[in-house]
């Protein structure tokens, strides 16, 4: 059988593992595809760089554009990341009908529409399992297995760096800064950790997940995003004392009337009994609530060379088989075309800790303020006394706008000395 030729764009942490696995598993891959897979070339920025795996120097090239449009190339694998030159190279490949496998969440979340349209126009395949939650098979289940169901909500831990940091803070009482330094020392966080700790990485993944789950077009710009840099050791400790753990969550949910979706990334308290609470270190997990299937969870490694390469290889096998069968994978499905509603319209629940004056009538005045904002209180607890008096409240679901408005009003209330902590609560809907 004539080999299928694979062009690889990028030979860093993921790319070098793709090269290694294409070599080591050649016999199995050939049996699974029905034809051998052959590396046609590897586009890199610098020829001389030391790499994690041996690559035949004859395969290396700095002419990525030339490589992706070569007549003998069947499949283009893009693991450069970022918007350009990745986008131009993918579009050039698709225009020539090449199948594309990519791990590029940023590009798909910013300009997925262009890429999907180019795939369709070029009769090309576009597979991107590795773009969200690395090795965890997640996009194929959402796109295909759950295609006969309605997804209510997706709650995901989709960024390993922030989960590592929050897990260290929870397990060892570390400060954010110390936990971040440890993550950097271990290679879990980059020297500039902004994309992770400010939630940009998770927001791109949330956009991709929401698009698939709700058959709509969602971009990174639609995603409400808050990071974890403001989370203190005290926040983590008081969540822990209440039986909660703080996680950075990517949340996609249909509105109650089903006519719009909310897509957001922010830290939230979840009960320790929730399946996501047990996700430790740099692991990822995505919890899906579907109408018929009920609660599902997908757990595994969300990053790293070999795990991400596993997802890329799975996609390579799929597009290779499609090519041999003369068929294509599913097109982008956006028929539902649901709009993304603003964060203010999203229904959430808040946990609020208030430093208050310790005198009669404080609770009554605080409760009244919540009532005037139409926010219903679920539980309230008074702790300490004198200068240490604190009210700890958990609300019922209300619009995020009403809840943040309530916090603003509380800050102005004379009997409130300080709003000591505010955190959304998720995964606790039965209360």
């Amino acid at each position: 059988m004539k080999p299928l030729k694979v062009a690889l764009l990028g030979c860093g942490v993921v790319g070098s593992q793709v090269v290694r696995l294409l070599g080591e598993q050649a016999a199995d891959l050939a049996a699974r595809v029905g034809a051998p897979l052959e590396l046609a070339g590897v586009a890199v920025r610098r020829m001389g760089k030391k790499r994690d795996t041996d690559v035949d120097p004859a395969l290396l090239t700095t002419d990525a554009e030339g490589l992706v449009t070569r007549d003998d190339v069947d499949i283009v694998v893009e693991v450069i990341g970022g918007i350009e030159p990745a986008r131009s190279l993918i579009l050039a490949a698709m225009a020539k009908g090449k199948s594309v496998v990519t791990a590029n969440k940023a590009l798909l979340a910013e300009d997925g529409a262009t890429i999907h349209a180019a795939a369709k126009a070029g009769g090309a395949d576009l597979y991107f399992e590795a773009s969200v939650a690395g090795a965890i098979p997640l996009l194929r289940p959402l796109r295909e297995s759950l295609n006969g169901d309605h997804v209510r909500r997706v709650l995901g831990i989709v960024n390993g760096t922030t989960n590592y940091i929050l897990d260290k803070m929870d397990a060892e009482g570390s400060s954010f800064t110390d936990a971040l330094e440890e993550a950097q020392a271990l290679g879990y966080a980059e020297a500039d950790p902004t994309a992770d700790v400010e939630g940009f990485d998770a927001a791109a993944k949330a956009a991709i997940l929401a698009g698939l789950a709700y058959h709509s077009r969602v971009t990174a710009a639609d995603v409400h995003r808050e990071g974890i840099t403001e989370i203190s050791a005290t926040d983590v400790a008081s969540a822990k004392a209440m039986g909660y753990v703080i996680k950075l969550l990517a949340i996609c949910a249909r509105s109650d009337d089903g006519r719009s979706i909310g897509v957001r990334v922010h830290p939230a308290m979840i009960p320790r009994s929730h399946p996501l609470a047990g996700v430790r270190e740099a692991y990822n997990a995505v919890f899906v609530e579907a109408e018929s299937a009920g609660e599902l969870m997908f757990y595994g490694k969300g990053a790293g060379g070999a795990p991400t390469a596993s997802a890329v290889l799975g996609d390579i096998v799929a597009v290779a088989r499609n090519r041999l069968a003369g068929t294509r994978g599913p097109d982008e499905s956006t028929y539902a075309d649901l709009p993304v509603h603003p964060m203010g319209d999203t229904l959430t629940r808040y946990h609020v800790a208030l430093d208050v004056a310790d005198k009669p009538g404080v609770l009554a005045r605080v409760a009244e303020l919540f009532a005037t904002q139409d926010v219903s209180i679920q539980t309230v607890r008074q702790e300490g006394h004198g200068d240490d008096a604190q009210l700890v409240l958990v609300t019922h679901r209300a619009s995020d706008a009403a809840l943040s408005g309530t916090i603003e009003s509380l800050r102005r209330l004379d009997i409130v000395r300080a709003v000591a902590g505010v955190m959304r609560v998720e995964g606790d809907d039965n209360l």
Copy 2:
């Protein structure tokens, strides 16, 4: 667009939910497939039976054979279960080129080869996501997402009834009999619970999982099977005291040399820190260890009408799309053709509790006996004294034959009054 016609075989717990969802989600399904899905008929055993959902009486028929071979039928959905008449009906449908979606684990585990061959010969699709772990997208990830990886091991809780029983025993200290009665009262266990509690159901699923994971042909007869009826409240309590929980596991693993596979279903102690330990009640979860992807877990509802119907509907959408595109899903992949080795050759670890005479030299003699059988002891703990003296040992990995031989010899040792408990230990390989 011309509708695709679906023939449904069986209208029980799952079938009636398939009917409901085909109706309720008709618009979404049509958008996702690219053509409407239309119920062509529903084959039932008795016409007059009361059903969980309204079915147009004009669609009901007792002539299943006639229904599946009708010229206008495109897709046959089999949710009768059992070997016959399910097999004959599926074969008749495939001979006419109909796509088949089935939830029938027993048939696939007993005679999958015949069904897969018939699908290929008839140019028909065969999808069976619902046959293992109900709503959990598991087969598609194994067959497709992990197709570029090597699965080392699959450890699954794939039977909800036994997990419910063991969870009750663990959480409430119930006896097996009481927990079973509770499961029966709640509808989690059938009046005759044999298929579940003796591990037959899990063994069928293990065979299917092993076949997919290792690209080999595995039948239910290849699976070593032990049930949970012998598990006592004492076993559960002592596992708990040691930080373990007892689960009925379906385990598929490659041998260390990669030349054969072991497939088995038996109760085992797993550490409470293992992700499978937190799987409560009737939930299912499957833990997969792959060479590149690392550790993955899939969690959700393994049974029930709506969850199973969700998996069936996902498959219906897939085969319908394939039909419109003039293509087929993946054929059975058995190229690796690995043999299943006997249970005796499988490497396992045992936890053993021995009632012993409380006198000097007992530990030495027990240790010597393990040594003569080439079984290495990992930990040993002496508890109680006098008539209550007990030795609790955990072994390193050894062949199951050597371990069971050791237990036989221990039973004959004069200083051993009784072998109070023997249980395999899994998920604790780092010790």
